[in-house]
């Protein structure tokens, strides 16, 4: 058994060396006692920082109002800044009547834990903004802002590199004030011979971290064009993380760290790498979408060219030969019999009419002037009927809505989706019938739904390659308006594609304006 003295001594030692900080102050905030933990957190200050004192005071008031509750629950951590040191401290006041007039509190340094927490949240938010479809620059700006928000990073730039690996384009940024002419100034620095650390990150595909980079840059006359921009906000070390897509470096995420006691740690860098991965995903996705869009445009041109070859070119060739025959006949014989003339002219009239009809159908398909005049419903109807006439497929069209007022850009996207879907049916489905219907559905009939159903072979997995890109471009168009494209199909059981978009009054803002 321990004696009372021994017990006191033991308690004293345990309290002094406890991993948690313990501080005792008087009513004015003067520090009377602190254990080792509190000394680590507070340093050798005589007075408790006001922010901590405020927590203790607040607790004393609430404890007085509601007796019984020890008030030990920790509130939001208190941020302490001491020179370059920035700490987040959880403060749990000790509410015990016998302490009065002294006050005491347990202090825990939660800086690291909070950083980790914020970073995880930042990664999660970044990945959800990458997953949501939007324009690339806006997505990258959002991710850059997340990096800055997560902490310890004063500013972020995301740059892409051209194929030579030397010319830089600014894709997104957060933290620096005015960056509109950043790239111009950077190019000027390059001309002056400034060494761009981001280029070595790009060239090696490895992270570059340089402690105390800012003083170097600001002292270097070759960086003069950027001195003004780089001066604010305050930063110190630089970390360049390559953006890697499929093993190739497409750009660099430049992080400018707030001045710290320590240079960036491996955990700091791991966080930046995770964020750079999100950006790289966004870049990769944008590239894929641009290929898909390019292919869609190209396919459309091919479709039109093939249709021209198949119809108008043949008609016009025939008209030309017949007209020449007529001319030669007149030259040779001096006249043409009325019977012969009638045969030729009838053929010419009928060929010209057919050529004109074909041209009209093609023009409708290209719709240079938009659908404004005919409206979406009528245009889809015409397009479905033209498809039936061209392919011999049995087509049906019905619409619950006679006229839907849609913004022209949405109308265009929807029309292209329908075209692409019909094209896929013709090309891949081996269908004999196709049915297109337009309806308003959902809450308050606020959704425009277009269904395209065929009786073809359905889809096998993996889906045909051209199809993947086609689907991607259809989805992209629908998602731009907060809508979706859903494909339901089983092998041998036909296909059903449903396009859903919110109707205009409730429609999402047009692309590019969103966050």
């Amino acid at each position: 058994m321990l004696t009372v003295l021994e017990q006191d001594e033991l308690f004293h030692r345990l309290a002094v060396s406890a991993p948690v900080g313990l501080v005792v102050v008087d009513a004015d905030g003067a520090v009377r006692l602190r254990n080792d933990g509190a000394a680590r957190i507070l340093g050798d200050v005589d007075r408790l920082p006001a922010a901590l004192m405020a927590v203790i005071e607040r607790d004393a008031i609430s404890a007085a109002g509601e007796p019984g509750d020890g008030g030990a629950a920790a509130g939001e951590p208190v941020v302490l800044v001491q020179g370059l040191r920035r700490l987040e401290v959880e403060c749990r006041p000790v509410s015990a009547p016998w302490l009065a007039p002294l006050r005491a509190a347990w202090l825990t340094d939660v800086t690291r834990a909070r950083v980790v927490q914020r970073r995880l949240a930042a990664i999660a938010r970044a990945s959800s903004s990458v997953a949501a479809v939007g324009n690339l620059a806006a997505t990258v700006d959002a991710v850059a802002a997340e990096v800055v928000r997560a902490d310890q990073i004063a500013a972020v730039q995301v740059v892409t590199l051209d194929d030579t690996g030397t010319r830089v384009r600014l894709l997104g940024t957060a933290g620096f004030r005015d960056t509109t002419d950043f790239i111009l100034r950077l190019q000027r620095c390059q001309q002056l011979g400034a060494e761009l650390k981001m280029l070595s990150a790009a060239a090696t595909g490895k992270v570059v971290a340089i402690a105390h980079r800012k003083p170097q840059v600001l002292a270097d006359p070759r960086w003069e064009p950027l001195h003004e921009i780089m001066d604010q906000p305050d930063w110190d070390s630089y970390v360049g993380v390559p953006l890697i897509v499929d093993g190739r470096t497409v750009g660099v995420l430049n992080a400018f760290c707030t001045p710290q006691e320590q240079p960036p740690t491996p955990e700091d860098i791991a966080f930046l790498v995770a964020m750079a991965e999100q950006v790289a995903l966004a870049v990769d996705r944008a590239e894929l979408v641009s290929v898909a869009a390019m292919q869609a445009r190209r396919e459309e041109r091919h479709r039109v060219a093939a249709d021209l070859h198949d119809s108008v070119v043949q008609q016009v060739f025939s008209i030309k030969m017949r007209a020449e025959a007529l001319r030669l006949g007149i030259v040779r014989d001096g006249e043409v019999s009325p019977e012969c003339l009638s045969v030729h002219v009838d053929a010419l009239v009928s060929s010209s009419r057919l050529a004109l009809d074909d041209l009209r159908a093609l023009i409708l398909e290209l719709r240079p002037g938009g659908l404004a005049e005919a409206g979406f419903t009528a245009s889809v109807r015409a397009s479905v009927e033209a498809l039936g006439a061209r392919t011999g497929m049995a087509v049906t069209f019905h619409s619950e809505l006679e006229f839907v007022a849609l913004p022209p850009a949405l109308e265009d996207d929807l029309y292209r989706i329908v075209q692409e879907a019909l094209h896929n049916v013709v090309k891949h489905a081996e269908a004999t019938t196709v049915e297109v219907s337009i309806a308003a559905r959902g809450f308050d009939n606020g959704l425009l739904v277009v269904d395209i159903t065929d009786d073809g072979v359905g889809f096998r997995r993996p889906s045909p390659p051209g199809h993947t890109l086609g689907m991607l471009s259809m989805r992209e168009r629908a998602q731009r308006w907060g809508g979706s494209v859903v494909l339901r199909s089983r092998s041998g059981q036909g296909g059903h594609l449903r396009v859903t978009v919110p109707l205009p009054t409730r429609a999402a803002p047009p692309p590019g304006d969103g966050p």
Binding site: E299, H309, I319, A325, R332, P465
Partner: protein, 220 residues
């Protein structure tokens, strides 16, 4: 009317083209309409019937893109079975590959449907004289192709060509590796050799080129 007009047989899947051509041939003194067919298969059958009656035409005007037997195959069959018949291609497509294929199969003329009417008669007469008549634009493309030799995708090995097509479908290295059952590293090596052979710097460029070359199924 010439004593012995040149018999011309017309093969085209568009009736309107056949009737226009027939009308034209009918008014040219030294040409005579000798029959027609809507596709390559029918053409060979009809010619066989004419051969049996010893009235084979001198020249066959042949479209290329047709159902059943296309013009390129039909040309080979006709040249082999009826060596006295000269085949002149009359089509709306002038790609070098098609021209080469048609000439290899024995065609002695290649006209585009945007040719002047008189050129059709000229090509028919040239064929009978044993000459080769090419549309001037087609001839230009052909010589250019001869001068520059194989370029672009023609330089790729079969494996690289597969990779090139997959790039055109927008596949990632991992997907390419999975599809071809190779390691991702090997896929990456193939991708970079495709890029360097094609003188490209990014896979996006490669994808666009593959699509442009019509190598991606579903892109044409």
């Amino acid at each position: 009317m010439t004593d012995n007009p040149i018999g011309v047989f017309i093969v085209d899947d568009h009736a309107v083209v056949r009737s226009g051509l027939a009308a034209y041939i009918a008014v040219i003194d030294d040409l005579a309409f000798a029959g027609e067919a809507a596709d390559g298969e029918e053409a060979v059958r009809r010619l066989a019937e004419l051969a049996a009656r010893d009235s084979l035409p001198d020249v066959v005007l042949m479209d290329l893109v047709m159902p059943n037997t296309n013009g390129i195959e039909a040309t080979a069959q006709i040249v082999e079975r009826f060596p006295t018949c000269r085949v002149v291609i009359l089509t709306s497509f002038g790609e070098v590959e098609r021209v080469n294929a048609a000439l290899r199969n024995g065609a002695v003329g290649y006209l585009l449907k945007d040719a002047e009417a008189a050129e059709v008669a000229a090509a028919i007469r040239a064929a009978v004289r044993g000459e080769v008549h090419l549309d001037s634009e087609v001839a230009r493309r052909l010589t250019q192709d001869l001068r520059t030799g194989p370029a672009g995708p023609a330089l790729l090995t079969p494996r690289e060509r597969q990779i090139f097509v997959l790039l055109g479908e927008g596949r990632s290295n991992r997907e390419i590796a999975n599809i071809l059952v190779i390691s991702e590293r090997t896929a990456r090596t193939h991708v970079s050799s495709v890029l360097s052979k094609l003188n490209l710097t990014s896979r996006t460029q490669a994808a666009l080129m593959a699509v442009r070359e019509g190598l991606v199924p579903g892109s044409r």
